[in-house]
């Protein structure tokens, strides 16, 4: 750089480099301006829309985590507290008790508790849930759809591209603002609250 001014060739090269440098800066700046307009201060997180989900089971298997970050959530406000819970019992179960072979959940993660005749309360033992969606399917088919899958943000490692989203057949995944990270269905038409 000290040479500038002596050698005309060097001078020309310096000038060219400077020009290119300035254009690179303008280019990067331009890109930043274009995108900044479409940016938001906070982070986004991945979430699935339970109203699109068809419970294909890939949530359990396609997460980058061995024990998927997707877990079942129970929206109590929508639950019918049924004795014959479509999400709890395997179809065709005769005696409605908590025997393991009667339960739909492969890890027995749903707990059934008697409230008062004929109501039972169901709760999810989240650490046991693998997000397979079997109960969600059962509840959606025979009940009110109060069991729903959601990405648990305390477990999710927030991949830039969620690996379940890539393979979800129902296109249920999207990026949502981290301030409003859950997309639970609250009421349905059949069950206005």
């Amino acid at each position: 750089m000290e040479e500038t001014g002596k050698d005309p060739k060097l001078n020309r090269r310096e000038f060219l480099a400077k020009g290119l440098r300035v254009s690179a800066l303008v280019g990067i700046g331009g890109l930043a301006v274009l995108t900044v307009k479409k940016s938001l201060a906070g982070e986004t997180v991945w979430q699935l829309d339970p109203s699109k989900c068809i419970q294909c089971g890939r949530c359990a298997t396609n997460c980058v985590l061995a024990h998927s970050a997707v877990r079942c959530t129970h929206v109590y406000a929508m639950c019918g507290y049924c004795d014959l819970c479509g999400g709890y019992f395997k179809p065709g179960t005769k005696t409605l008790n908590t025997a393991a072979e009667n339960q739909l959940c492969p890890t027995n993660a749903i707990k059934r508790k008697f409230v008062e005749d004929p109501f039972f309360q169901y709760s999810i033992d989240e650490p046991l849930c693998i997000g397979c969606g079997k109960c969600v399917k059962g509840c959606g088919a025979f009940g009110n759809g109060s069991l729903q899958l959601q990405v648990r943000h305390s477990i999710c490692v927030h991949c830039n591209q969620c690996s379940i989203a890539r393979s979800c057949p129902a296109d249920a995944f999207s990026r949502v603002p981290a301030g409003k990270p859950y997309l639970l269905k609250q009421i349905t038409l059949e069950n206005p609250k």
Partner: protein, 370 residues
């Protein structure tokens, strides 16, 4: 987390300290790699920025934008100091480069085209909203999270083990962000130099760069005969557009293959194929389509518009790759004369290894070897 950039740039440009850069990279590996688990990174942010440019509904978090922009700006000022001490991928490979071997310059040039192809593909897939392939095939994030699938583990293992001998294989032959850094670094304001003052052609640094990033002096036959140069220039002016058009045409031919990964196209294909849809068990995709209540015509329309995007995208991608190929060829054809040993501004990662080989001291004296 913007502070590692100035720190590393200072270590490289002002302190010229390999030890400093080394510890910075150890820290970055631990922090950005194992603690933050690698997501989101500057390399992957290419796709977020692309998506933000092309997709109306996508909003990009500021932090991700910063991850993309900041290293480029710092590289424009100081060279690729980001690669030296901030990027956890680079750090990891830098730390295992125990026995770097010289690589064949021709092979180097050919393999060097891969990052351009990877960048082009990543932009194409991000712009069409199909996938983030850089994240999908990210070899190291599985290691940072201790949960790599078998395939990824083998890939990462191969990279790291070959990285003992061929230093930074990912950086040199894959990294798509490296392409952008390479461009920007070529016109950087400051850049690391091997010698603090003047090169005395002692050749001591000749073998010091593990990445073959040092440009040797070329003085023979300077200046080249006018006629030879003119011929070369004419050849280049013909070759470069030819490669660009050929590439573009090839890319457009391949658009259906390229779009094969798009779920919209795949769904339309399955629905359009009567044999498949009747005789095979219903796929989840079809179940989801049925329950969504979308009209069939809409599915076909969607697929058609994706295919159209890929047709244009294929042209652009192909042209780009052809252009890069032509320019690399042109670069090898033309001779650049220089008298000193200098780091190649595009390829140098500013690791500061070569600095310690130079016997010239700051005040212009030659160091005495003890």
């Amino acid at each position: 987390m913007p502070w590692p950039w100035p720190l590393v740039s200072w270590l490289v440009i002002k302190k010229r300290s390999r030890t400093g850069v080394f510890w910075a990279s150890v820290f970055s590996l631990a922090y950005f790699g194992f603690y933050r688990q690698g997501c989101v990174c500057s390399i992957g942010a290419i796709q977020n920025v692309t998506l933000a440019l092309f997709e109306q509904s996508y909003v990009i978090p500021l932090a991700v934008l910063a991850f993309f922009i900041l290293p480029l700006v710092f590289t424009l000022f100081f060279g690729r100091t980001f690669c030296a001490g901030v990027c956890p991928f680079g750090a990891m490979q830098d730390l295992v480069a125990f026995r770097p071997q010289k690589t064949d310059p021709r092979l180097n040039a050919i393999l060097g085209v891969i990052p351009y192809i990877y960048l082009g593909l990543a932009v194409l897939y991000a712009a069409t909203g199909t996938d983030f392939i850089i994240c999908r095939y990210d070899p190291f994030v599985g290691i940072f999270r201790f949960n790599a699938t078998f395939g990824m583990f083998v890939f990462a293992g191969t990279l790291l083990i070959s990285g003992i001998f061929i230093a930074r294989p990912y950086c040199r032959y894959l990294c798509p962000y490296g392409v952008l850094l390479n461009w920007v670094s070529r016109v950087s304001w400051r850049h690391i130099t091997i010698t603090p003052t003047e090169c005395i052609q002692c050749r001591l640094c000749e073998e010091s760069c593990p990445y073959d990033a040092i440009d040797m002096p070329v003085t023979d036959g300077n200046p080249e005969e006018r006629l030879v140069t003119t011929r070369k220039l004419i050849l280049i002016c013909l070759l470069v557009p030819f490669f660009a058009i050929l590439g573009g045409w090839t890319g457009s031919r391949l658009h259906e293959t390229l779009a094969g990964d798009s779920p919209k196209v795949r769904l339309a294909k399955t629905l359009a194929d009567p044999v498949k849809s009747r005789h095979q068990p219903e796929t989840f995709e079809i179940t989801a389509y049925k329950s969504s209540g979308k009209p069939l015509a809409q599915v076909y329309d969607d697929a058609r518009s994706v295919l159209r995007q890929f047709y244009f995208g294929g042209w652009i991608l192909g042209c780009f790759i052809g252009l890069v190929f032509g320019i690399i060829l042109a670069g090898r054809l033309l001779t650049r004369y220089r008298t000193d040993y200098t780091p190649n501004r595009g390829a140098c990662y500013s690791c500061a290894r070569c600095v310690d080989y130079c016997p010239v001291e700051k005040n212009g004296l030659v160091k005495m070897e003890s």
